[in-house]
Structures are given as C-alpha cells and as structure tokens.
Amino acid sequence: MAFTFAAFCYMLALLLTAALIFFAIWHIIAFDELKTDYKNPIDQCNTLNPTVEKVKKIKRVKIALKLVLPEYLIHFFFCVMFFCAAEWLTLSLNIPLLAYHVWRYMSRPVMSGPGLYDPTTIMNADILAYCQKEGWCKLAFYLLSFFYYLYGYEKPFVSSSFPLLSCLGISINII
C-alpha cells in the first residue's frame, strides 16, 4: 500500500484548502457589504444615522483581519509540508502566493496588533477596490488548487490497486 507522506500531504492540503476557500469567501462578503452599504434599498434605514448594523459591518472587517493571519499561516504550513514531501511542482506553484503574502504583510499600515486593514483608510475607494479584487483572485486560486490537490491526491494511488480511492484517478486516466 502506497500511503506515502506525499499522499498524506495532499489529503491535508485538500482539507485545509477548503478552509482557505471559506476564508476567501468571508473576505469577499465582508468587503462587498462595506461597499454596497450606501446603495440603500428603500426598506433599510431611512435616517442619516448609521444603525447598529453598519457599525457591526466595520467591526466585521476588523474580524476579517483576524482571519488573515491564520490564512497566511495555513498556507505557509502547506508550503513547508510540500517541501518536506519533496513535491517540487506543487511547491513552485505555491511559492508566488507565499511571496505575495509576505510582501502584503510587510507593507501593511503601522499598527500595534497583527492585522492588515486600517479602518480609517479602508473606505477609500481605491483601497476597497483593491481588497475586493484580491478576494476574488484568491478565491479563484484556492478553487484551482483545491481541484489540483484532488487530482494530485489521486496520483500516488494510480500505481496501487486500492480501488475505493483510485477509482477517480483511474477514470481520469482512462477517459
């Protein structure tokens, strides 16, 4: 049975990528809500005052930044795992994202705690637009890597005869 460390890596990566996809979706929703707040439908608040709703939404962005570090750490963990498993192709595909994360964290605004987003500048349209684009790009990347790991997860089993797990891999190979 070829239950190698590489296969284990891919399995773990698959599960963790699901978590990363969730983070990316949360990210997109939080920024979208911040942005579309001003296009009020008729039944939303009918006064000038911000309701408790809107205050919560800015706080949600602050929570989002608490999700940023876990996301970066999880991704870093993948890269370390793939490095240990000597999966060079996968590692090389993830290195650019790792470099981007490092750059993004280094050039964050001055703040005492960990975090990426400054509530005072987040509402600037160009920063908001950038964060939204970042969210969509990351979602696309994580989805693609999810399917890549799913396929890659099958590769170590192509040679083995473990039927349950390799059926997907064999079907891909045959068709």
């Binding site: 911000p50 800015i58 005492s112």
Partner: protein, 765 residues
C-alpha cells in the same frame, strides 16, 4: 436659456473671457488687483441665482464632463470643497413636522427638483417621482395653498431643518467640555497655564451650551490628577491616580459637573490651578494614560476634549521617541517620518469617534513632539490641531497674543455634537476619496463627533456612468448635528452644475483655486503613503498634463510659448507656490513638526484661508490712499493693489504688508518714507524701529488709521487671529518673509520663469 456651447463660440471672433489664450512666458502681470472671485457656473439665470454660495460649496470644475473619458482627457481633478458649518449671516431655519425627502435615495427636497404637477416632484439626484405630502402644499410664509415650489425649502440652497425624533439615536446630548492640561515642569515654564485659566475665567459664561452644560478638568505629569467639583464642597478636591498602567476613575461622578450649578467651584479651581503646580519638578509626561482616562470620563455622554501638551509624551502607553534627525531638515531628497510611529493615537481616536468624543490638540512645545503621531488623535475624531511652536509667556509675546485670541474664538465659537454628514450626487457620479478630519463610517457617511465652523472638507469624485441626457447635475451635503442647546438639526446645502461634453467647455469652467486646494490635499496623502518626492512630481505633472491637454485638444492655432486659458493662467504659479510651501519643500531647513502641521492645515483649512497660506497677498502700504476704499461700518478701508510675490516688487523706499493667512508681515524698507515711520510706526527713523514689534501703535494720524483699518479688515475676515510682525533687514523673521517670495529663485528651487520654461519643455516633449 442655457448659454450656448462655448466650443461653437470659439469659431466666432469673441471668445469668452475664461478661454482667452494667455502666453504665460510673455504676460507677467497675471494677478488681479483684488481677491480672486469664484467662477460662476454657466447656468440659466434663475438657477444660478438660487445656487449654493461658493464659500460653502465649490467644485473644481464648474462644468461637469459628460463621461469619465472626457474627464481623463482634460487631466484636471474633479472634486468638491465644502465648508458646511461656516458661520453664515443669513440662514433660513425650517421647523416642519414632515421633512420631504426622496423615497429611494433620501435626498432632501431642494431648489433644483422639478415639479411635474402640483402633487408630484422629481428627485434631481435619482430621478424618482415622489408625491408631495399634504402638509407641504401649504406655504406658511406666504399663507397660500397649492404652491409647494414657493416654500423656503425649495427657494434656498442652504437651509437648516429642526429634526424630529426619528433622526436621533439617543436623546440629544448636552454640551460637555473636558480640559486635559499638561502640568510638567516644562509646561509651567512656558506659562501657558495662566493664559488658559484666565481665558476660561473670562469666557466661562460664553461657552456654548444651556443649563445642562458640563465641564471637567484633568491635569497630568507622571501621574493623572482629577478634580472633584461636587456641589457642596468648600473647595475643589484633587484626586491623584498614580497607577498609569491601569487607569481608573477615582469617583464615579462629580468629576464632570454641571457648569451652572458648580460655577463657583470651577472658578476657584481655575484661579488656583496655576499656583498649584508652580514649583513642580516633574519632567515626565504621561499623555497616553491621561487620554485614556479622559476618554473613560467622556464616553458615557460624548463631548469635546481639549488637550494641551508641551513636550514629547515619554511615559506610559503611547510614549513616543524623538524621530527627527536635525541634519535631515534641509534634505534635498525624501523626508522620513511623516507617518505615525504608533497606532495608539489612531485607535484611541476611533474609539473616541465611536463614543462621540472629539479631541482638539494644542501643541505648545519648543522641541520635536512627533506631531505626525499625535495629530492622529484629532484627525480621526473630527478635532482640530493648534500649534504654537516655542510658546513662552515672556520670550514670545506674539505667540502669546495669538494663543489668547485663538483660545477666545475656540471657547466661544458655535459647536455641533454627535454629527454625521452625508454627501450625495446625481446618479452617475460617485465619491471615492475624502479629505479632512473625520472618520469615514460608510461609503459616503462621515462621522463627526464635533463639527466646528472652521473646518473644511474635500472629496474627489469619479464619473461611473456617462451623464447622457442630463443638462445639470446636483450635489447635496447634509449635516445632521446636535446644537449646543440640545436641538437636533440638519443643515442641507445643495449645488447645481451644468454638464458639458466638449473639452473647451470643461477648461472654461475650471476653478483654479479649488483645483489647487484639492491637489494640495491629494499631495499630502501621497507624501504620507508614498513619498514626498512622489507628491512633488505628481503636482508638477498635474500642471504639465493639463496644459498639454489644453494645447493639443482645445487650441485651434498653435503658437509658440506656454499657452494657457485665462481661467488657468494662475495654475503654474499656484503649483510653484505649493512646491515651495513648508509642507512640500525640500532643500530648505524645515522642522519636521512645522512641516507636519503645515500638512494638517492643508487638509483642514477651508479654501479661502488655504489660498492665503499657499499664495500670500502682498500689498504696498506706505502710500495708502482712500481711492477705491471700502466703507464698512463708517470706517474707510483702503484697498491697495495685490502685488506679485517677487523681490522685484519690493522697494527700499517703501513698506510692504504680506498677508499669509495665519501671520501678517510688515516689511519696512531701509530708505522707507520717513512719513510712514513717524506717522504709522511712531519712530523717528529706520534704526529706531524696534526688533520684535508686533503691535502697531494707535496714533492719531490719518496714515496710522488707514493702516490699522486695513489690517483690522484683513483680520476680521477670518476666524483665527493672525499675528503681525514688523520686519527690518536684520530681523530673524526676514527669512520667513523672503521664503514667501514664490516667484524668485532660491538655492534649492526654481524661479517662476524658470518653472514656466521647465513646463514648456515637458509639454513639447
């Protein structure tokens, strides 16, 4: 009848004045003799008559381009400059049970809506048709029925509503004032405490508020001192909290007391406060913990916190280090440390903003105080920053006078609490960046815990959808606030501008002062987020790009030289003035705090005072006559001609006055007219002119009266008090005076003519 397209006019012989071609390299006298008026939008007479006052609401382009691509071609920034809470002499106030607003976009009814018939009106921002409510059909002013378009809301572009209870999140708060005073040895040395206490005693009855007004005091050095002012005590009781790591309030109430009930105790405290700390030897300053304590005290109600600081905070949370390198002051390259060192003050400002507390900062220090970090406490809580470098009660009397007058204005001016402001525009336009002291709570909602009449704001806009089929677009700024008497009010300003689709019309409607003001705010942002040299390049490119665009797209006949439309003829001059401004200059020694304060002012000041700061006005005053004088309140105020800022215009035989907004310089030439010396300055000859003269003697001569009337008139036009300095050749301030001579060459900057040549070279590339 709308004025015809100006593009068509250019084919005829008479081009409108705004588009008259000016060759900047040849015409030297570009400045008009008096102050420059705001351009009038090209609207039909009846619309323009009721349009918003340009002192309150102004656009960089008075003719809005139809599409974003057209705007990009013009290479001019599109934005609005507002002064919404300005002291107005005439303000219609409406008390109405129903405030008529559009159902979908919530715009207030304004003079630029259209009435389809007597019962329905069409919103000018979202074009939705709304019903006119029954109560609105009756006009209380003219006691007539059936004419909703005659109501004051539809006749006035600036109007104030008394807001009903739906506009309140909580019962309107009372006026609450908290004073946080630095009492370290350094602070007591400067003597500011005497001035503050005296000012408060003098103005205690003039503080805006009603019977619910509350007041409190906190002093701090290395510990925090609270004052129990409970009614019934024979004298104020001081409570000292020395645990600055974990601040707590020593008593639950009576630290903030009702002013009318405890007035004697407050007055006792103010009289004894300077003496309490006379012999102090404390050198440490725990500003961070003091601010936290003050925030705890104010957070249940909200209010205004006035913080007085005289040194770098060096104890407790929020302690700052000295980051300035004196050798880098005259650096020709980038300036470091323009952004905050810590986000403690920013976070505290956001917490304050959430609890409707605004923090005003008075910085009275001689050393570096890291204003870049400290200023954040005011910037995001809608406060203001006041800066008196090297304040000292004996050595710097001019600053003392300025502090005294500024304090009086600060304590007695109108104030609004727990305010929010929303700026709406016609469908198709959207606002993407805001400049000013506030917190952006939502995409176009600004949270202003305090709103004061001296704050200006700016916004940048973009055109999201093409403005086809629209003749005009409208902008509305609505400010919801609680007045000092506890009334919830809404001040609404609406402005209407025409839409054009040709480049020449856009250039004809350009407002050069508004463009300069907006560029200054944008450059400050760029200096902090990128670098100072980036910001300088961006400003120069703004001039190059717009003039190049004019040359390529609007000019029909290509002539040599640097050509500009008449409305933009001062643009290169203003850009050069910005490049030589304290905030952006390189190569000249500038203290970091001075530079950061100049940047704060560029973002905070309303446009009128901002332009004086950027391009001071120079007048010759030794030969003032009554010719063309104004007659105000039976005083004759001479109106000398504005001169160009060049030493060419100075003359040894004369005396010149330079009005730079916050300071006025009176330069006396070496061979000045002896008449002026004796009649105005009261001295027999030039050598007898005192070195640090800051007050003109009140002599009974005609010349003295004219000069003092003129200076008084300049001072009356603005809410803050500009200091006057009389300068001789050997005076220390001569360098400051000469630095404002924008058109001249210096070791590190180009002269105006050289700058024009540089622009011309870049444009013809």
């Amino acid at each position: 009848m709308l004025c015809p397209s100006l593009a068509a006019l250019s084919l005829q012989s008479s081009t409108p004045e705004a588009l008259r071609v000016v060759n900047l390299l040849q015409e030297r006298n570009l400045l008009p003799p008096g102050p420059i008026p705001a351009p009038t939008p090209c609207l039909p007479q009846d619309l323009q008559k009721i349009n918003c006052n340009p002192e309150v609401f102004r656009s960089t382009l008075t003719s809005i381009p139809q599409t974003q691509s057209l705007l990009n071609k013009a290479k001019l920034p599109l934005g609005l400059l507002l002064h919404p809470f300005k002291d107005l002499s005439q303000l219609p106030v409406v008390t109405s049970s129903t405030i008529v607003r559009c159902r979908s976009c919530r715009t207030y009814i304004n003079p630029f809506v259209s009435f389809l018939d007597q019962r329905r009106w069409k919103c000018n921002l979202c074009y939705r048709v709304n019903d006119v409510p029954e109560e609105f059909m009756y006009n209380p002013v003219s006691r007539s029925y059936g004419e909703p378009h005659k109501r004051p809301e539809v006749q006035n572009a600036t109007i104030e509503f008394i807001a009903p209870s739906e506009y309140m999140l909580r019962p309107p708060q009372p006026a609450v004032y908290l004073f946080v005073l630095d009492v370290s040895h350094n602070a007591v040395e400067t003597g500011y405490l005497n001035m503050v206490c005296q000012s408060l005693l003098d103005n205690i009855n003039a503080l805006p508020g009603d019977s619910r007004t509350k007041i409190g005091f906190i002093t701090f050095d290395s510990t925090i001192h609270f004052y129990n002012l409970q009614e019934g005590l024979s004298q104020p009781q001081m409570l000292i909290v020395s645990d600055i790591e974990d601040i707590f309030l020593p008593t639950p109430d009576s630290l903030l007391v009702n002013l009318s009930e405890c007035k004697e105790l407050v007055q006792d405290l103010l009289k004894s406060l300077p003496n309490l700390f006379e012999k102090t030897m404390e050198t440490q300053s725990a500003l961070g913990p003091a601010l936290q304590a003050a925030f705890k005290l104010l957070s249940p109600t909200g209010g205004r916190m006035s913080v007085f600081q005289t040194q770098l905070p060096n104890l407790g949370v929020g302690a700052l280090k000295s980051r300035e390198d004196p050798n880098q002051r005259a650096s020709a390259k980038d300036i470091q440390h323009l952004s905050p060192a810590t986000d403690f003050y920013k976070k505290l400002a956001l917490d304050c903003s959430g609890q409707q507390v605004a923090v005003d900062l008075f910085l009275l220090s001689a050393q570096y105080c890291d204003l870049a970090s400290l200023g954040c406490i005011s910037r995001y809580s809608a406060g203001s920053v006041y800066y008196y470098p090297s304040y000292h009660h004996a050595h710097n009397p001019a600053q003392v006078e300025r502090f005294q007058k500024d304090l009086k204005r600060y304590l007695t001016r109108k104030i609004g609490f727990e305010a929010v402001m929303r700026i709406r525009c016609t469908k198709g336009l959207s606002i993407h960046t805001f400049h000013g002291n506030f917190f952006v709570r939502s995409t176009d909602l600004l949270s202003l815990p305090n709103v004061n009449p001296d704050a200006g704001f700016a916004v940048q806009m973009s055109i999201e959808e093409n403005l086809l089929d629209m003749q005009v677009v409208s902008f509305q700024a609505a400010l919801l606030y609680t007045s000092s008497k506890g009334e919830r009010r809404i001040r609404v300003h609406t402005m209407c501008l025409p839409v054009v689709n040709s480049l020449s019309d856009i250039f004809a409607g350009a407002d050069v002062q508004a463009i300069t003001g907006l560029l200054a705010s944008m450059a400050v942002d760029r200096s902090v987020s990128a670098s100072l040299s980036d910001a300088r390049d961006a400003m120069t490119n703004a001039a190059i790009d717009s003039l190049a665009s004019y040359r390529q797209s609007v000019l029909t006949i290509q002539q040599p030289g640097l050509l500009a439309p008449a409305c933009l003829r001062l643009f290169p001059l203003y850009i050069l003035a910005l490049l030589k401004q304290k905030a952006f200059r390189t190569g000249t020694s500038t203290r970091l705090d001075d530079r950061v304060f100049a940047m704060c002012q560029l973002k905070y000041q309303p446009l009128a005072y901002l332009m004086l700061m950027i391009h001071p006005a120079l007048y010759r005053v030794d030969d003032l006559t009554d010719e063309g004088a104004l007659n105000i309140n039976e005083r004759t105020i001479p109106q000398p001609r504005v001169q160009q800022l060049s030493v060419e215009k100075l003359s040894r035989e004369g005396a010149f006055l330079m009005d730079a907004g916050m300071v006025i310089y009176l330069w006396v030439g070496r061979n000045c007219n002896p008449n002026f010396l004796t009649q105005v300055l009261g001295v027999p000859n030039y050598t007898a002119v005192p070195q640090n003269l800051y007050l003109l003697p009140e002599l009974d001569t005609a010349e003295s009266q004219r000069t003092r009337a003129f200076i008084g008139w300049l001072r009356d036009q603005r809410p803050f008090f500009p200091t006057l300095h009389v300068i001789r050749d050997e005076s220390q301030l001569k360098a400051n005076f000469m630095q404002n001579m924008i058109e001249d060459r210096t070791e590190s900057a180009l002269s105006y003519y050289e700058f024009l040549l540089h622009l011309q070279q870049q444009i013809s590339k």
